[in-house]
Symmetry: D2
Subunit: 336 residues, 4 copies
């Protein structure tokens, strides 16, 4: 952290500031210039509140040099983290494909989709039981019953299941879920993150609609600092001024996240675009930039889907895309 | 809702679509053109999933005409809603000023601040007990103890208290709170909104960082559709590309929200800007555009604040601002 | 400027970097820490290319401390600049109201509007002769003829005229214009800015749709560094994810610009919102935050306007607003 | 276009509106509902000003159904446009790689870079002679001399040249340039676009920092409506709230633009990211989503580049990337 002090600062005020900073356990290098005095803080500055320092009268500006995240930081953990989720791994050579409907709707539906996506090469089944819908008048998911149907589909196909949690109150229902998903709207639901940090279970954390990469990693840090280091990051599009696509997929986020962090990174092309014909090109791009997995919506009857049908692929479309993606995976010396 | 169908659509597919839409209880007007056929849906379309309609092959585009919110909609409730919060009202002639520290830190602090802001004309005391912090290593608030300190300050000053809830699990702790605040990061924590909808208590709902005005009103609708119509909307800055201010205060949101909805609207200039010297001009602007209240951070010692000190005013600064704001309130035929 | 060097940097590379920086005429303070070495650059760093420094292998990060603008910077010019534009001033006690139609359409129209806005208290007449339209198929303005009509209206009313230039090739046509406007889309048309810098004539520079405050001031710097210091800044809304309003008025930009710079700042509430019923509240807010002027679209027949009729006020509406604004100006110890 | 009229509209006002619309040469379908009356406009609505229609008192809302661009629209020109630029084509099977330094700095530099990029497989040489720099104090390019050096490098290597124009006044200097580039900041410099529309020369049009896809295509339409249909679209990153990368590459824009338009689409991964280590993954992604070309910054000595050195590749790095990209091109049944 670097603190720039106005050159007009009285001697005693500067001394006071220096003592306050040293009290936080860091070492200081002081460079006195003609226009300003620069304090270089060396050591662990993660506990120092930059805003508080900036609030001091004599301080002109404060700049962080160090990343505020530790456990998620590749600097302190150079090797890639591989998350094992009830068998299949995420972050290893094989690119993990998580597929299934937006919402679980019935036993027939979820089993049919599970069988089809498994046959096409998916290694996880996704399906929403608790659904975060913008409108209270929209279908809110089958809830506990939906979770049971997912488990039945898992039994039928052997595919581990991924499903979204929306409240700490439902935690007990998720005990037998293989990967718990945190949706974009809950990325900074810190109470939920803290509870998930106490589990020994993979967490798929989606990036918030307007969250910076640093905030995204800080939310991962919330889970990890609680003891659960099995975090999978998921880029799913950010909100921008462009309205043709539902969100703007930040494809650069994959190589950036993998450089800053050791955690596996997955892309959700279905939610990013909101348009089924964009799933194929965005999935190829995801593999090309080094994503460790894909999360794709597949519905046996998208036109009758109770939620987000507009962006779902049919199982036949998914088959075709999967066969194309295999070659992209090979180019990256991976498999799918 | 208007549905535009491709002119190449086969007769039977179009018939099927029309039946599906009529099955939702709306009346249709069909205009057949040379390039496309336009279906005008008349009646209550709030239960129709526009994305699902758009997913049909023959549909070119779907446009909503009607707002998706009902209880929050001024069309169905032309008069302003006035929320009575343990005495003082929000949405009536008097502009409600909610002031206090970002975090409750100690009994002395909260009582001192409460007395000072009351003397200056505030009618509510704010203070965070549960704090949503980006970093798990930052001060997280005094939690239950903080709530107790707020109640002590209320007893001392008579000011009703406003404080933020972060999880449905803490609901029982908030029984004796006068206004429960939902933070920007939880604006779409739908499980929380649903629970708050069951209470008979004012809810101050902050706009999410990247939430549209329509999404904001839909979150209010979540609370209201549960039965609790005592919702106060709070604009607190949105996230844009500009980084000089922490967020960009969307001042236009006040007149827009008041036109679309009957709910009272409050501005939080402290969080919007993140800079204490912007609180005065932004507060004046808030009154000038018709805000029903202001939420201002005041700390007895901003330089030692455990959170967000950088943006807090001192009680002396708050005194000066309040005296200036009175004249702005008068111009709008209100008082403060 | 602060340069953070990796602690793994070899001695000779560090020496080389230090020599390169000293070669740019700045003094260096070097603080050697355990994790990194911090170089504090003191002196005039405006000629140093931060990106180039960051491109050096051994550099971890570069942070600017100093603002890159000089002539526009209040630090080097503490008093407010007052721009005299053929009589009326902008930046002095009187708040300058610039009003008129989006496009000049006919002699009758522009004279009628000019007389009406003058009667209501406007001190400048605006009107577009060259129109930047998104579509090549939309009305592009009366061009040279429009400029002549503006001059006729000026003769009739005595109001100095403000109109937009779109190309350096039209410069000779603008010789007799009182204030030349640079539109948002041309804020970074640097060739145009350079030419305007050679004139001795007030320039009203609009902020680009996605321009930061710093970029905005750098564009003013382009004009000023050429010798023309008569620059008036105009905030007219920025592009965000919100679509209810055409743009999002960044009301905070006024006090921020006035703190960073000595140049006068004007608000254009008509373009910011794109909705005529928002002009009144946004104009009040503009005065409340300290704007030196307002730019308001007024058309004698908005429903038949050839461009942007949707956001124009009628002369009658303008009368009412002006009478209300007077009281706001008084509160700020100004007049209108 | 669909116009929704309030049900409270008086009969005569509605009649008047219908006559006004029919006067624009479109056919109307009128559906009278209980809450509102829907007018469906059929025929060519591109000349109708939607804002003007919305300004009528009785109109509740106006929605465009038809795209406002015609010549750029794939609907009216189903086959891909292939632009021949002095030999090499853009938009055909071969993916066009345009490489070179941000700025032309010297004869030695530009020839060396040209030879190296040619050897690696580039088919165009890029280099800036007129440079749009945020600061007036930064290097502004060698201008006319830079253009001469580019021509020398072309003579030495046979590579056609691509370089940016910043003003209509320089047009005569660009007569012998193979592809004229319009930078992001000039995407809506309509006077420039109109002049370029009169040429018979390929124009590489970069997307503006905050321009929607529709606005981007409307700028292409400006050039095309003038008669020059040789337009190449270039996505180069948009401005969002994320600051880790300089801009956010909107990778989805490629398949979207290719669906909406027949024009070739190129990606500039260097400017999009501003970080050299992102050029490789983003280039792969560009090919994977169907881009027709890449525009990559290569400098023989990035650390001494006079502009944008921070994001340039060395020729050696470019060699490696090109060899990797060949395989991606093959997967898409293209070559590089």
């Amino acid at each position: 952290m670097i603190v720039v002090v106005r050159n007009s600062a009285p001697e005693d005020k500067l001394k006071e500031l220096i003592q306050m900073l040293e009290g936080c356990g860091v070492t200081l290098n002081v460079s006195v210039g003609t226009q300003s005095t620069v304090l270089g803080l060396l050591g662990d500055t993660s506990a120092i509140d930059a805003d508080l320092v900036a609030a001091q009268d004599i301080v002109e500006t404060v700049k962080r040099v160090q990343e505020p995240y530790k456990k998620a930081n590749r600097k302190f953990h150079p090797e890639n983290t591989v998350v094992n989720a009830s068998g299949p791994e995420i972050g290893a050579r094989k690119i993990a494909v998580i597929a299934g409907p937006c919402s679980v709707e019935s036993e027939e539906q979820i089993i049919e989709v599970a069988q089809r996506v498994k046959a096409a090469g998916a290694c996880f089944l996704r399906g929403g039981a608790f659904k975060p819908r913008t409108s209270p008048y929209s279908f809110q998911g089958l809830k506990a019953e939906g979770l049971e149907l997912l488990k039945i589909a898992r039994k039928e196909t052997g595919l581990p299941i991924v499903t979204e949690i929306m409240s700490t109150e439902h935690l007990s229902l998720f005990e037998d879920v293989d990967i718990i998903q945190v949706g974009a709207r809950n990325m900074q639901n810190f109470e939920l993150l803290k509870e998930l940090g106490k589990l020994d279970k993979p967490i798929l954390l989606k990036r918030g609609l307007a969250s910076t990469i640093e905030e995204f990693l800080m939310s991962a840090e919330y889970i990890m600092s609680g003891g659960n280091e099995k975090v999978i990051l998921c880029e799913r599009g950010i909100r921008t001024f462009e309205t043709f696509t539902r969100n703007t997929l930040d494809i650069s986020a994959v190589p950036v996240l993998k450089r800053l962090s050791h955690l596996p990174v997955v892309i959700d092309p279905s939610h990013a675009a909101g348009l089924p014909w964009l799933v194929e090109p965005l999935s190829k791009a995801a593999i090309a930039v080094g994503a460790d997995g894909l999360m794709i919506e597949v519905h046996n009857n998208p036109k009758k889907a109770l939620s987000d049908g507009a962006q779902s692929l049919t199982p036949d479309q998914f088959d075709i895309i999967m066969s194309k993606l295999k070659k992209y995976a090979e180019l990256e010396e991976r498999e799918i």
